[in-house]
């Protein structure tokens, strides 16, 4: 049975609902030996800042049970090098979403503006999990007022499809989602990593040089599913589901809980072909069950009688 895999993620027309998550897919070209990127719905770049930045000292990563911690820092090539060097390395058919962050709203807005000038940038994803310099480390995504100002500013800076990526480290994800919708975001991506800490008992220091880090991987999947479900019921803009997706079944669960598309993150480290295999696996899953459009799965979670 042939399955229609296309979805519309806030104006991003995707050939299938599988994207790759920011920071886990480099700038795309690194995957060329393993995967034809044209098989994916799209790719999301490493989060980009206006100026290139180097990141934290090692250790930047550590393993956890069914997950990993990371605190990479802001390492990225910067907006200009991305446009100049990274985009041209990608085939024209690859849908590119540029992830953006900054330490001030203005930095975000300027980065979005510059990226919007590239015709190859199909959409923007604003990473709102970045600590705000003036608020003593609280993330943009943790304060509704800050978040509103941020979304308003980037919305003004770009007419491209605008995704806002939310922090899961909040009391009410629904509230944050509503803020984004009210300020004109086209879609919401969630979740980013759960703030976490682990200790090296030999040295009694945090395992990561940065102290705190973010937990990703299968460990966070049930938290991500919960938040996607809550957010998608709170707003009418689409939700892109992220968190611990390792298999096609995991991805289908996100659609069922209300996501229009998904992003594959940590899985690409374990298996560089994961995103492609998940996209194919979703088609298999659907066709075995007589589902003719993947979009028909969105938000179909059944209540218990």
């Amino acid at each position: 049975m042939s399955v229609d895999t296309s979805v519309d993620l806030g104006g991003l027309r995707l050939r299938n609902p599988v994207l790759t998550a920011s920071g886990t897919f480099g700038y795309g070209a690194e995957f060329a030996p393993f995967l034809d990127l044209r098989r994916l719905g799209g790719i999301v770049s490493k989060s980009l800042t206006l100026e290139p930045r180097s990141g934290n000292l090692p250790h930047r990563i550590a393993e956890a049970h069914a997950g990993m911690l990371n605190a990479i820092g802001l390492e990225n090539v910067g907006v200009d090098a991305f446009i100049r060097e990274k985009i041209p390395a990608l085939a024209a058919e690859v849908v590119i979403v540029a992830s953006v962050f900054g330490r001030e709203i203005d930095e975000y807005a300027q980065a979005c503006e510059r990226l919007s000038e590239s015709p190859r940038v199909a959409g923007l994803e604003v990473n709102a999990s970045c600590p705000h310099v003036r608020s003593g480390g609280i993330e943009f995504g943790q304060n509704p007022q800050l978040l509103a100002s941020l979304v308003r500013a980037v919305r003004r800076a770009s007419a491209k499809p605008l995704l806002v990526k939310l922090s899961p480290n909040v009391t009410s994800i629904a509230e944050m989602a509503k803020v984004c919708e009210a300020e004109g975001a086209d879609a919401i991506s969630l979740i980013n990593t759960l703030q976490a800490l682990d200790v090296d008992l030999e040295t009694r220091r945090p395992k990561l040089r940065n102290g705190l880090g973010g937990l990703s991987g299968p460990a966070i999947l049930p938290v991500a599913l919960r938040m996607v479900w809550q957010a998608s019921r709170a707003v009418s803009i689409p939700v892109c589901g992220i968190g611990g997706i390792m298999t096609a079944e995991d991805a289908v669960k996100f659609l069922v809980c209300g996501a229009t598309a998904v992003q594959v993150g940590t899985a690409s480290y374990l298996n560089p072909a994961a995103a492609g295999e998940i996209a194919d696996g979703m088609v298999d899953w659907a066709s075995r069950r007589g589902v003719s459009r993947l979009a028909d799965l969105i938000g179909t979670l059944q209540p218990w009688s």
Partner: protein, 272 residues
């Protein structure tokens, strides 16, 4: 020639204990076409056995020790030491079982120079990264390489028999003196640097050993290449987890820009 990496389901041919915690893993890797000295592969111990489970989650970087091609694909050999959860699981992989393999990865050691003696300094599991280099040196000419192997004790020593069967000189140091010279492998290195002015250093082992080797080479004004062992998540430059601080202020990715580096570009102070 640096080949593009591939992702394959390798099957375990053999997984044998080599004394102490050391083991040798022989894999059949469909599509594998060879590697350069110092390159590595990512192996996923968590996935062995089929049932979907993600603890431990991350693949482990392992130096490619040796490879040869057969009819069903290439055989790839890994030497490893059971030291944590990942390697404990790897030790349980049985012949016939599948294990995810991504490789060859990373930049190899530079070619040996025909006018110099290469001092290959290996400590602990770092020995595994040097074997192919020793093989090539032995082919180059007599006396092209000298291998200095170090371990805690004779039992822990890795690959000794293999190195010894090559036409190269092999010196052994053990911390307890149970084989070869008693002490750290950097002690004979210092002597050889003094005795052999036309020499380069190629080192792989614990960070402290490589730091010491780099310092010695610098003191004697010799080139020194080290193969760093930072924790890795991906192995091919996308997670940015393996960054090593450079002297000039920025970072290098151990998996993509290394694992082999000219020792002088590494900021040894800030390396964790």
């Amino acid at each position: 020639m640096i080949r593009a990496p591939l992702r394959a389901d390798a099957s375990v041919l053999e997984n044998e204990a080599m004394g102490a915690a050391n083991r040798r893993l022989r894999l059949l890797v469909p599509g594998f076409e060879g590697f350069e000295p110092g390159q590595f592969a990512m192996l996923s111990p968590g996935a062995v056995g089929g049932a979907l489970r993600f603890d431990p989650l991350l693949p482990r970087p392992m130096a490619i020790y040796r490879a040869s091609s057969g009819s069903a694909g290439a055989e790839v050999e890994i030497l490893y030491k059971v030291s944590g959860r990942g390697t404990a699981l790897l030790a349980q992989a049985r012949p016939g079982e599948q294990i995810r393999f991504v490789g060859p990865l990373g930049r190899p050691f530079p070619d040996l120079r025909s006018d110099r003696v290469a001092l290959l300094v290996g400590g602990g599991t770092g020995v595994a990264s040097l074997y192919e280099l020793a093989v090539r040196g032995a082919r180059l000419r007599a006396g092209a390489v000298r291998v200095l192997l170090g371990a805690k004790s004779a039992r822990d020593l890795m690959g000794h028999a293999d190195f010894s069967s090559l036409a190269v000189a092999v010196d052994v140091s053990t911390e307890d003196g149970s084989l070869g010279e008693r002490g750290l492998v950097t002690e004979p290195l210092a002597r050889w640097l003094a005795d052999e002015p036309a020499s380069d250093v190629y080192a792989c082992g614990p960070t402290a050993m490589m730091r010491a080797a780099a310092a010695l080479a610098l003191r004697f004004g010799r080139r020194c290449f080290v193969s760093l062992e930072n924790p890795m998540a991906c192995g091919f430059g996308v997670c940015l987890g393996c960054a090593a601080p450079r002297r000039d202020g920025g970072f290098a990715l151990v998996c993509r820009d290394g694992p082999v580096f000219d020792a002088t570009i590494v900021d040894w102070e800030r390396l964790a």
